[in-house]
């Protein structure tokens, strides 16, 4: 009997060691990919809009600010808040002076997070902020599974990001240009403003601003079809962002909505290679102006 128990324990030891090793290797790559391993002064928090739309290396070079890009596709406002809190709680990120928070026109209209966006953050389950965030969306059984067997925290996507972290490749490069039909297609869903999101954004922005961090709301170039279709909602959103920027000198609003041209997009909403260069250049100029100020 002792031999059998010894064998089982031996296997479990090998399993957990292998699992831990895999986790560490992948985690290190992810940390590099999201810029968590450097003493970032400028932090970009966004969904896919700035993931494809900003070149963090070029921005770093142009502003002389060590830049981290914590961007994940499909992330809604609550998730972006969790991302920001997670990054700021990370041990090596005490020196963040500028937070660039992607504030697209849909951010304040979402009622809840989309079905699977939280799965990207399982690798960070050990961080208390992320554990609290993830526990809202997953069953206790799954949480136990992810806690015990660390490999279950990863997906093929996180594997890819980790690999890119090792290769120092944090930007996306898509050369395609959106077709005219796609660009002009009318949106087919409705939106309403979410008061809770607005309240939360206001509190969060003020909290960082009062702590001495420059909280910069950035609206990326936006397809005019969206603006036309959601004109009433958009007006309220832009008004809210401007009012928010007036509340504290450390809260800034940068609006690049009007820069949108079809040639700069690879689909209806995301910037291509040319769009990325254009936005990065404009943003760098504006940031440098802010730095001087």
């Amino acid at each position: 009997m002792k031999r059998y128990i010894g064998c089982i324990l031996g296997f479990l030891l090998i399993l957990f060691c292998t699992d831990y090793l895999i986790d560490r290797v992948l985690y290190y790559g992810l940390e590099r990919y999201y810029g968590m391993r450097k003493d970032a002064e400028l932090l970009i928090v966004s969904n896919s809009y700035l993931e494809s739309g900003l070149d963090s290396d070029a921005l770093e070079e142009a502003t002389n600010l060590s830049t981290a890009k914590y961007t994940v596709s499909g992330t809604s406002f609550p998730t972006r808040c969790a991302m920001l809190a997670h990054f700021m709680s990370h041990q090596s990120n005490a020196g963040v002076k500028y937070v660039l928070f992607c504030s697209d026109i849909f951010m304040l209209t979402q009622k809840e997070i989309s079905m699977n966006e939280h799965v990207h953050f399982y690798p960070f389950l050990d961080a208390p902020v992320m554990r609290e965030y993830l526990s809202q969306f997953d069953t206790p059984l799954n949480m136990v599974k992810h806690t015990l067997l660390r490999s279950t925290r990863y997906t093929i996507l996180s594997l890819y990001y980790s690999l890119r972290g090792y290769l120092n490749d944090t930007n996306s490069y898509i050369d395609d240009v959106a077709s005219i039909e796609l660009w002009n297609a009318k949106p087919n869903y409705s939106t309403t403003l979410n008061e809770n999101n607005m309240k939360h954004l206001k509190e969060m922005a003020l909290q960082y601003a009062q702590a001495g961090v420059k909280f910069i709301l950035v609206t990326p170039p936006t397809n005019p079809q969206y603006l036309r279709h959601y004109s009433t909602t958009c007006d309220s959103i832009y008004k809210f962002y401007r009012e928010l920027a007036g509340l504290h000198p450390n809260i800034v609003y940068l609006d690049y909505t009007e820069l949108a041209r079809r040639e700069l997009f690879f689909d209806r909403a995301h910037l291509n290679n040319s769009g990325r260069t254009m936005l990065t250049t404009r943003l760098a100029e504006d940031l440098n102006y802010l730095l001087i100020k």
Binding site: L15, S151, L157
Partner: protein, 443 residues
């Protein structure tokens, strides 16, 4: 309840503990009764009416066995009627969906029906001297590891094992767990990930060019092997953990040198079933050359029709029959060359296209595109590029692992062994796609 679900793990552990206890105290009857209840629960979990089919097939088999044992005259008629009655639900559910789409084929019906027929047939041929009791027959038909997708066991192999006390040897448990993990890896990591690419490609045939369709055909060949052999490995692993030796359903079929060898290595339990109960019953090879050719062709056509009532399956069976017969015309020296292997594998992969695509017209279109174009630019087949590349890497890894296993060329020593399985578990954790059905549940 799939083998890969958490519910199954709980079910298995509870049943295993109960069976172990009963076995330890030599309560074979109670142990088998528990296994039977567990098996019916396992099947009923898929649909509450499914166990009635099990019951029907069991009762027909049991009564036929008793009648065949008791009477020495009209045995052929009794066996024929019993087989016919046993096959009724299978024929109904297999072919009624053609007339009424609201009817569907219950999972596993084909498998446990064929399995129960082995009992009737063996009683008729007196390969089983004395018919078995109702509990034995019922457990033989319903034994949960083989219930949904085989292996199709012979009564003379499985029932005697079920009648004995199980010998719980440590090596059996360990090898059972290892085989199960390997099976889960094949299914969850390889088959399901490849399936995503194949499904997307075959959903939109018009936009996929010849290159993509060729790759999809190749990937489907790997997918169906990983899927079906994955299930078989899990079934064998579960059986082994109880101390029961189930038939190995696959033996590296893609490393076969000839079509004949391929069929000795692919779905072994079904091939041997057709060989024993159809081919040999028709006279096997102890007849004229023409008759033998007809026998071979009939077996392959029946095998195709068994999979489904569509022309595509008939063509699939016919293609394999043709390849089998053509091979006999080729000299032995030629059949063992690399060129022949490549041609043979191309034939097998092409036949899989008809197996995968339900409409034979679409399948012909795919074959035409692959061999005659248009060869549109290669795309990531509905996947993000990294996901596509990652999946291809997994397929290559799988082929390398298969090659290593085939040549028994892997690091020896217990630590390396366990490390390998720990790595497989981690890969399953990362790449598994939950809740995907097994391909062979459709048959």
């Amino acid at each position: 309840m799939l083998f890969t679900s958490f519910e199954f793990l709980v079910f298995y552990l509870v049943l295993y503990a109960l069976v172990y206890l009963m076995n330890r105290y030599d309560k074979v009857f109670i142990r088998n009764f528990l296994l039977l209840v567990g098996s019916y629960f396992f099947y009923g979990n898929l649909h509450e009416w499914y166990p009635l089919l099990l019951l029907y097939v069991t009762v027909v088999g049991y009564v036929a066995g008793k009648v065949l044992e008791r009477f020495s005259s009209h045995r052929k008629a009794v066996a024929g009627v019993s087989i016919g009655v046993s096959l009724c639900p299978l024929f109904f559910f297999k072919y009624a969906p053609l007339l009424n789409e609201s009817i569907w084929l219950p999972v596993g019906l084909s498998f446990f029906t064929l399995q129960s027929l082995t009992y009737i047939w063996d009683c008729y041929r007196r390969k089983i001297e004395k018919s078995f009791g109702l509990l034995d027959v019922a457990l033989f038909v319903a034994f949960f590891p083989t219930l949904l997708s085989g292996p199709i066991e012979r009564a003379r192999n499985l029932i005697p094992q079920l009648q004995r006390g199980f010998t719980y040897k440590w090596c059996n448990i360990v090898s059972g767990v290892q085989i199960f993990i390997w099976g889960a890896f094949k299914k969850l990591v390889i088959a399901d990930n490849l399936g995503q690419i194949v499904d997307v490609t075959y959903t939109d045939l018009e936009t996929a060019g010849g290159l993509n369709l060729a790759l999809a055909a190749l990937l489907y060949a790997i997918q169906i092997y990983a899927d079906f052999s994955g299930y078989a490995s899990m079934a064998v692993g579960i059986g082994r953990s109880f101390g029961i030796q189930l038939t190995d359903n696959f033996n590296f079929p893609y490393f076969a040198g000839t079509i004949k060898e391929f069929w000795k290595r692919w779905h072994i339990s079904l091939t041997s079933w057709f060989t024993e109960y159809v081919y040999i019953s028709m006279g096997g090879n102890r007849c004229s050359k023409w008759r033998w050719m007809i026998n071979i062709y009939t077996v392959f056509l029946l095998s195709g029709i068994w999979h489904g009532a569509t022309w595509a399956f008939v063509i699939w069976g016919a293609m394999h029959g043709m390849m089998y017969l053509l091979e006999r015309a080729v000299s032995d020296k030629l059949t063992h060359t690399i060129l022949y292997r490549v041609v043979m594998l191309m034939g097998v992969v092409t036949a899989w296209i008809f197996f995968r695509i339900p409409h034979s017209g679409d399948a012909w279109y795919v074959v035409k595109c692959i061999f005659a174009g248009p060869w549109l630019p290669f795309t990531a087949m509905g996947q993000l590029p990294f996901s596509f590349v990652g999946t291809i890497c997994l397929a290559i890894l799988f082929l390398i692992l298969e090659l290593m296993l085939y040549h028994k060329c892997y690091p020896k020593g217990i630590v390396w062994h366990w490390f390998g399985f720990a790595l497989l578990i981690c890969l399953i954790a990362i790449f598994a796609i939950p809740d995907n059905k097994f391909v062979y549940f459709n048959f």
